[in-house]
Symmetry: C2
Subunit: 400 residues, 2 copies
């Protein structure tokens, strides 16, 4: 196949690490074990762990056995952490030296021992117990006199994360402080790896994609490259929420059959009321979900955010309630119908802004991903509420 024509194993490795899961599995299925091992050995161990994590366990173990002893231990270590934690994404090769090492010794040892380090941005300084004590940039090494010990010029103002820190938190830290790598420590503050900025970029892109797809009820991972059936299976359950919502709406409207029988044109306004409520609700929940993800909004500000959204909903509800009420009056010249429609738009938009901002906030507070909870649920709930409100208002105002 085409892949065989690429001679450089490193290039093969790069292609490997960029492939989608499905395609990768097919690929590896067709390759000889020795060839797979050859390609994987050219990759940094965090990428290998990533690829092995996607393979069936049996296959992964066979590959691990074949790989050079040293590398495979490192990878096995990585595989023991959850994939989306600092431990799962960290690179286990980093530069660490003791506090007493001098700048001159450090430069020498960089030239000898640390030639293989993939991302040599920082030199971490550890104390006699292997605990993280400070950090120095490679640049600082060359600007101090060669006999200065690291302890004297290292920075002790250092961020670190635990092996079980969520990858999203790690990404936020790197993004906020513009650092190139974060050291990862275990329970006893021993340095065990680093998460580098290139992996953070991938995380940020992935997390944003996940959020977007979840909000649209299209699963959490990008599926376009996968099969029609897989895509269908992922999307089916989300649509089920809106199907149930729609069937509930049958019954709600069914209850008002009497009103509909007398004023049949009430039906003509169902789409506009649902549409306006749905759209403003989506705006509110999107702003909240993304605001939380970006750190612009804080869970502590829950009430100020929700009140602001409610205010926006009230104002926009008033504006569009008036416009749509007037349009209804222009078409049917029935004041009470027009009034019902306008009032229903107003209520439905205000409530949608309130619910659309409140629900993701509440979900985030009880540690449910607000992106999942938002899309199909808010939309469906709002559809039912809007329709009910509308018929209730109309029935009351028209005295039916």
């Amino acid at each position: 196949m085409l892949f065989d024509m690429i001679e450089d194993t490193e290039q093969k490795g790069t292609i490997f690490s960029e492939l989608d899961e499905d395609i990768l599995l097919n690929f590896i299925e067709e390759m000889k074990l020795d060839d797979i091992v050859g390609v994987l050995e050219s990759l940094p161990s965090d990428d290998v762990a990533d690829i092995l994590g996607k393979l069936p366990e049996k296959k992964a173990n066979a590959i691990l056995k074949k790989m050079k002893k040293e590398g495979s231990e490192e990878i096995e270590g990585l595989l023991s952490y959850e994939a989306d934690t600092a431990g799962g994404i960290m690179l286990p090769d980093f530069i660490a030296m003791s506090e007493k090492t001098t700048a001159g010794q450090a430069i020498e040892s960089l030239q000898k021992e640390y030639m293989d380090v993939e991302m040599p941005f920082y030199l971490y300084v550890v104390d006699e117990y292997g605990k993280l004590a400070g950090v120095s940039s490679l640049r600082q090494l060359v600007v101090v006199s060669p006999d200065t010990p690291l302890k004297d010029f290292m920075s002790t103002d250092i961020f670190s994360v635990q092996t079980d820190t969520d990858q999203e938190e790690v990404a936020k830290l790197v993004a906020r402080y513009d650092i190139l790598a974060v050291p990862v420590v275990n329970d006893t503050n021993e340095l065990v790896g680093i998460v580098t900025v290139d992996d953070v970029i991938d995380i940020i892109r992935e997390e944003a994609t996940e959020d977007i797809l979840k909000m649209a009820g299209a699963g959490g991972e990008f599926v376009e490259t996968q099969s029609v059936f897989k895509s269908m299976r992922i999307r089916l359950p989300w649509l089920f929420a809106s199907c149930i919502g729609g069937i509930i709406a049958f019954y709600v409207i069914g209850r008002f059959e009497g009103s509909l029988n007398r004023f049949v044109y009430l039906a003509a306004f169902i789409p506009v009321i649902m549409g306006m409520g749905g759209n403003i609700g989506t705006q509110s929940s999107t702003i909240v979900v993304r605001g939380l993800a970006m750190g612009h909004l804080n869970l502590r500000d829950i009430w100020s955010v929700v009140f602001k959204e409610l205010a926006v909903g009230l104002i926009l509800g008033l504006i569009y309630g008036t416009i749509i009420g007037l349009a209804a009056q222009a078409q049917y010249s029935l004041v009470f119908v027009a009034l019902s429609v306008g009032l229903a738009v107003f209520c439905s938009m205000s409530l949608a802004a309130l619910v659309g901002s409140l629900i993701p906030m509440l979900f985030a507070r009880i540690n449910i991903d607000p992106a999942v909870a938002t899309g199909p649920f808010v939309t469906t709930a709002m559809d039912i509420i809007s329709v009910f409100l509308y018929f209730q208002i109309a029935t009351t105002l028209l005295g039916i």
Copy 2:
């Protein structure tokens, strides 16, 4: 104010560069010119250019005049590029040396001349005309013998971008190749700046946020920290699209008043038909918009993507059309009503998947941001089409 209590001007600078536009303007309004200049001088020039770009031109010019000559020239240079191009986000201080410089001379000059470089990842090598010829990492410098000229060990396999390259393209390049900085060249291939990985992270986050908000019809920038009125103003026009759509739906349903008069329960199924079409359409358009942004989908594959979405729409339409048709039959026991509802769900879902994937693809092809075009437009168009289809099918089947 609180800000005055922070004594460290560098910290003040960092706060400055993280503030939202509105708050920053208020802040700067209240500060003395000298204080502003003091704070800005502590920041790298790309950040200063960014801040000045947000200020009214008069104020920005006054500040520029006050700043030290050297720095302000650099910043004026940056201000002349579009904000969202490589030129607008590049850092004008970088390390560049001639091909003949030896490793030893390079290290010496790093210690003397280049102490102020903010992000010293790579040493760029330029030829006698200042044109970009190659690159070396700082690490390579210390591992070759000191008298080796840069020309002998630099890598000539180097990416660069033009000053007018879109920032999103720059970000994709950095993300794809895991590099820490991209050199920016002008029309004549002269090196004029670098875009660093920390800025790329910000771009990726911003662009994702922009896409998400645009798709929800909530503007392109995050507005939650801004005022209720500003937020309202940004969201108003998007809702107008759905208002017009709703009013069109009046007329569409009005045309079928006769059918409604005879079978009033037809109204009860409007929400479920709109909801199912709307939701699957959102799924399809979200997958396409995000797939294009992430580079998973390619404009060349337009037909294969659209056909796949159509296939998903047909299958899901068949499943949910059957479920909802049966539910309608269970409630009203009128075979032709149930058949109309089921068929309408099927048609509306298939069509929504088709339209939802086709529209963003077409928009991208004619260079309109697919994210803007997608949300409110697709939803509104689909609402009207769904409702029309439904009543047309019902009228035909019921022979009204």
